[in-house]
């Protein structure tokens, strides 16, 4: 199994792991990302299926203490030979950046641009980190939890009040 292999080759990098419904997940620090990715690539995890992020604004030390942060950058890999999947999560605090994988995976280019667009997470070493889906002067980052569902005041006409989603998730009137 790949996780044991990472443990053996790079001891101490995997800070947390869990398996749920057959999905293997490991959590690593962003400093170790490039080393782990290099190992994964050598071990046959050559199809980078997806890069995305999850916003956890209520996480205890959301303000950037060691080991945790507001966002999880989530990578999904697929090994085409063994059909094994691996999810790698990298916690990152607001304002911090993650090393870009564009050097190894060309497909990381647009996925990282989308994560930057939607969450405002920067990727070090990305050749062209522009917004992908929204326009350059779009206010804020749409998939952050504190971005209102209706877009907030910026998208409301004068006198229009937001009828729902006043900061709470799933509460609609």
């Amino acid at each position: 199994m790949i996780i044991e292999h990472i443990d053996a080759q790079l001891p101490g990098t995997v800070t947390d792991r869990h398996a749920f419904r057959g999905d293997q997940t490991i959590v690593i620090a962003k400093e170790n990302l490039l080393a782990v990715v290099e190992l994964l690539y050598r071990e046959g995890f050559q199809l980078l299926v997806d890069i995305t992020a999850v916003d956890w604004p209520e996480r205890p030390n959301a303000q950037g203490a060691e080991g945790a942060g507001r966002f999880d950058v989530v990578y999904h890999w697929l090994n085409l030979a063994s059909q094994e999947r691996l999810r790698v999560k990298v916690p990152v605090a607001e304002g911090e950046s993650v090393p870009s994988l564009t050097g190894t995976f060309k497909t990381a280019d647009w996925f990282e641009r989308e994560v930057f667009d939607m969450f405002g997470i920067r990727f070090d070493g990305h050749p062209d980190l522009r917004r992908l889906l929204t326009w350059p002067d779009f206010p804020g980052h749409a998939l952050r939890k504190d971005f209102p569902l209706d877009g907030g005041d910026v998208f409301c006409m004068e006198g229009c009040t937001a009828p729902y989603n006043n900061g709470e998730r799933g509460e609609r009137s």
Binding site: D23, L48, V49
Partner: protein, 401 residues
């Protein structure tokens, strides 16, 4: 901003270059996407895709909708094969909840998925041919596509936005008259595919326009994140229906066509053969369809039948609980992938145990494929850009979400 980017690049012009806007509303873009082409004569020196014209914030909306309510949004991802998106999404939620759907529901899901794969490939191949200038093939095939859409309409009441699946099964069983029409479709569609092949496969003009265009090696295709027919055309026999079977695909007998060069012609051949293989699968499904329920028998997941809601107290309570409070979801995260017409359609769902997903991510198959567009057309002729774009089968609704 787009005007800025044009103005910027115009400063760099030396008089020989020309900027051509392809899109946002161009017949070959299959939706609204825009490519800014820089030309030197007829040779493309730079191609900058601009996307987001159809961005509707599906992932953001998903966080405010319950798990069932998200299904209609999945119709609007790849609207050429909406049922496959429905199936992909409900499969992901069923993986999260760890429930097994009834046999008949799985059979009908396979049947409808393969029908929509045929319909999707018809659009891709037919429209690709139209873009290059071969109009007839498109018309021959579109009659079959209409029949496929008639079948969708019979089953779900809608041609395009089907919303046919539900978490735990299907919205309803297929009606009477569905199977005979499907049988007729099998015969007629297979004839139409033969006609298409007679028109195109050995046609020298078609060869001139497609062979050697958009060539990609297997390593590059994997590195760009290709999946689906485009990856198989490059020579990688990766098909999730075989490699990581779901819905019982391992019990069906079908082959995976694989190309060699990855060019437009190979992608065309792979798609045509996949249509035939899909028809084979539909044939097998029709043979093994047995009567039975199409929804799980679990009041915590499936809505009770209406007559019971009106007559029985428990059913009324179940109905109320499901509508008002939603389903009970475990805390956790899953990634579930299905083989859609374009490639691997993935749904990554993070649940915090609430009524709505905490985060829902759609992994569109054509985003990584489209990201390689510039490297595919750079140095080629402008007419080839149209051929490459058509063979990638970019659906803007899925690309922009």
């Amino acid at each position: 901003m787009t005007m800025d980017s044009i103005a910027l690049s115009r400063q760099m012009l030396d008089g020989d270059k020309m900027i051509v806007n392809m899109g946002p509303s161009h017949p070959t873009t299959h939706g609204t996407l825009r490519i800014v082409l820089e030309l030197e004569g007829e040779t493309i020196t730079k191609a900058t895709p601009e996307m987001g014209y159809l961005h509707r914030g599906v992932e953001k909306l998903g966080e405010s909708l319950s798990y069932q309510q998200f299904i209609p949004l999945t119709d609007r991802l790849n609207y050429c094969s909406a049922i496959m998106n429905n199936v992909g999404y409900t499969t992901a939620v069923e993986k999260l909840m760890d429930i097994q759907i009834p046999k008949r529901a799985a059979h009908i899901r396979v049947l409808m998925s393969e029908l929509s794969r045929v319909a999707d490939h018809i659009v891709c191949v037919g429209v690709n041919a139209v873009d290059i200038g071969a109009f007839t093939a498109f018309l021959y095939l579109f009659k079959q596509r209409e029949t496929a859409y008639d079948l969708f309409e019979m089953a779900s009441g809608q041609r395009l936005h089907t919303s046919f699946t539900r978490i735990g099964g299907l919205f309803r069983d297929i009606p009477e008259g569905f199977v005979p029409l499907a049988e007729r479709f099998l015969v007629e569609c297979s004839e139409a595919i033969d006609e298409l092949e007679r028109l195109l496969t050995k046609n020298p003009i078609w060869h001139d326009r497609t062979k050697g265009i958009g060539v990609i090696s297997a390593e590059d295709a994997v590195n760009w994140g290709y999946t689906g027919p485009s990856l198989r055309a490059a020579g990688v026999p990766q098909d999730l229906r075989k490699a990581q079977p779901y819905l019982g695909y391992e019990t069906y007998d079908f082959d995976i066509p694989v190309g060699t060069t990855g060019d437009v012609f190979d992608r065309y051949l792979v798609r045509v053969e996949e249509m035939r293989q899909s028809l084979r699968i539909i044939r097998q499904v029709l043979d093994r369809l047995e009567p039975g329920p199409v929804m799980v028998d679990d009041p915590k997941v499936a809505l009770p039948p209406k007559e019971k809601v009106y007559t029985r107290m428990e059913s009324l309570i179940h109905h109320f609980k499901l509508i008002m409070h939603g389903m009970e979801m475990p805390v956790g995260e899953v990634y579930s992938a299905t083989e859609a017409a374009n490639g691997e359609l993935g749904f990554y769902i993070v649940s915090d145990g609430g009524k709505n997903p905490y985060r829902i991510r759609v992994r569109p198959p054509c985003l990584p494929i489209f990201s390689s567009f510039e490297s595919q057309v750079k140095g080629g002729l402008i007419a080839d850009a149209v051929a490459v774009l058509g063979a990638m089968n970019i659906i803007a609704g899925e690309l922009d979400r």
